[in-house]
């Protein structure tokens, strides 16, 4: 290798090592920052539900609950809508519809989340309070999930906002995965006298299922970490209640909301530990999703 090549190799090598160092550094910094809290509460931090900064009692359970529930609502809604949209775009829509529509859907991902938050606060929350909530309660009010007073802000509203924000991701990646299914396979199904619908549901979707699952998990990863839009519509109350109409809190939103008012060092380190939990969960979920999508793309290449 010539000296120039060697220098170049060193630069690109260094650049890529930097990323690995960044992740490790972030992790180390989070652990150091949350050390007082880790020492004070130990693993019980995860399952204690009291969050009382005045009394110096900190437990992450309400935020973990809020994060998991809003993300689950989001992924259920977004998966259904996103997969249907992806099937439509990849297999049914004529090109003059599919191209602009995919572009539009991908644009949705570029809308700043604070704008979603504003919209959620001024449009969606009142809508949930006056229309969606009462309607759900009318039909499903007998279950604890949809009982109790409807504030407008709460788990359901947070979940719907998140669904809107991740549906572009789910749709775009599912569409790509579905489009990668060989044309042969669709034609084989059509040539046997199947309808388009049978071909999509029995041949194309099953063949694409791993990649679509990956798309959903990637969407889930986004939903877990999304901060500002959720903070604006979740109600910000560290409580666990069965009702989806009740206000709640998520890991990300409590950090965003309370960091400026955290006065004691234990308070700050408890918030950082929440960040550590979120970091670990996000990394694992995203890694899983990437692995699944890679596996599908790899086998088709």
């Amino acid at each position: 290798m010539s000296p120039i090549d060697r220098g170049f190799a060193a630069v690109v090598y260094g650049g890529s090592v930097l990323f690995a160092l960044l992740i490790v550094g972030l992790f180390v910094e989070l652990v150091l920052g949350s050390w007082p809290s880790l020492k004070a509460f130990g693993p019980s931090f995860i399952w204690h539900s009291a969050w009382d900064p005045v009394a110096n009692k900190f437990g992450a359970l309400p935020m973990i609950y809020g994060t998991v529930v809003t993300s689950l609502i989001a992924i259920v809604l977004a998966a259904f809508v996103g997969i249907m949209a992806a099937v439509f775009l990849a297999d049914f829509a004529p090109r003059w519809i599919a191209t602009p529509l995919s572009f539009l859907i991908e644009l949705l991902a570029a809308v700043p989340s604070v704008v979603y938050g504003l919209w959620g606060l001024f449009v969606l929350a009142p809508l949930v309070r006056t229309a969606i909530g009462p309607a759900l309660q009318h039909v499903l009010g007998w279950t604890p999930l949809f009982s109790g007073p409807i504030y407008g802000v709460g788990l359901l509203t947070g979940g719907i906002i998140l669904a809107l924000m991740i549906v572009p991701t789910v749709t775009a990646i599912s569409r790509e995965v579905i489009a990668a299914i060989p044309r042969d396979l669709r034609e084989a199904s059509m040539a046997l006298g199947s309808t388009h619908w049978e071909t999509a549901t029995r041949v194309v979707l099953p063949a694409a299922r791993i990649g679509i699952f990956g798309a959903c998990v990637l969407g889930l990863g986004r939903a877990l970490g999304e901060t500002i839009a959720v903070t604006m519509v979740i109600g910000n109350r560290p409580e666990i209640s069965a009702s989806l109409f009740a206000p709640s809190y998520t890991l990300a939103s409590v950090i965003a909301n309370e960091f400026t008012e955290a006065t004691t060092s234990l308070y700050i380190s408890a918030l950082i530990e929440l960040g550590l939990i979120l970091f670990l969960v996000s990394i694992v979920v995203n890694a899983l999703a990437r692995l699944m999508i890679w596996r599908v793309r790899g086998s088709r290449a």
Binding site: P94, R95, P182, D184, L185, E187, A188, S189, M190, A191, L192, G193, S194, T195, V203, P206, A207, R209
Partner: protein, 265 residues
């Protein structure tokens, strides 16, 4: 499809085109082809790449129209009934005209058994399924090789076995016509020989139309050969149809002779 498919081979299988043209947008890929395929025989479609033979084949079971911007004019007659007539159900047509593709394309998420009965077999119980599958797999000369692994994935089979599974899948629907688009193009010589032998046997039950780019294969397996050639505009024309023996020994058109003697294509 109802529970028990008929056990006797259907009598039909008369297939013909009448002034058939096929288009991709404004490009006329096949122009004014009129040909009557001989019943219960193998007709080979030969010609150089881009002569429209595959497009012609895909018009015969209304698969061509699934391509973006594609359309067809003229008629395709199955038992004197125009399959392009307004109101004809393309799904029903495709169940009467089976197709085998260039690359083996079993459904990867279904078992070998479910692949064999993919056409309408979903509502059958397991015993009926195995019955239908056995008949189809025997017809495709694959039963003995897979009877002990019916629940396995078809992707574990060799290319030739996969292709015979695809033939079984098409045969299970009890069609009258079997279209084959270069069915051995991706197979090794031994697997090719097995498929060719199979084609001769299947011709006792079905009218077979097979596209092939391999003239030796056309000469070996077909009763009738049709030669196609693209004109200056890229439109595929039918040049000559004749008994295979005659077309390869005494072609009546000089362009056919040029092609089969290897002067072009």
């Amino acid at each position: 499809m109802t529970a028990a498919p008929p056990t006797i081979a259907p009598a039909g299988g008369a297939l013909a085109t009448d002034d058939l043209s096929a288009y991709y947008g404004t490009l006329e890929a096949v122009g004014n082809v009129s040909i009557a395929f001989r019943r219960k025989s193998v007709t080979a479609l030969i010609g150089p790449s881009g002569c429209g033979k595959t497009t012609l084949l895909r018009c015969l079971n209304r698969l061509h129209e699934l391509t973006f911007d594609a359309c067809v004019s003229g008629r395709v007659l199955l038992e004197d009934c125009d399959i392009y007539e307004w109101g004809m159900d393309p799904m029903a047509i495709r169940r009467r005209i089976g197709m085998v593709f260039q690359r083996p394309n079993p459904f990867p998420t279904l078992s070998i058994l479910d692949n064999a009965v993919a056409c309408g077999g979903r509502r059958l119980n397991r015993r009926a399924k195995i019955e239908v599958a056995e008949r189809a797999l025997r017809a495709a000369a694959l039963w003995d090789e897979v009877k002990d692994k019916l629940t396995r994935s078809p992707l574990q089979l060799s290319g030739g076995q996969q292709q015979r599974l695809c033939i079984a899948r098409a045969v299970a629907a009890e069609p009258e016509v079997l279209l084959m688009d270069e069915p051995t193009a991706s197979l090794d010589p031994i697997a090719t020989a097995v498929i060719e032998e199979l084609m001769a046997r299947l011709a006792e039950r079905f009218t077979i139309v097979a596209v092939t780019h391999n003239m030796q294969q056309a000469a070996r397996v077909s009763d009738v050969t049709a030669f196609m050639l693209a004109d200056a505009d890229g439109t595929g024309r039918l040049i000559e149809v004749d008994d295979t023996a005659k077309l390869f020994t005494k072609p009546s058109d000089p362009r056919t002779e040029d092609y089969i003697t290897g002067r072009f294509g």
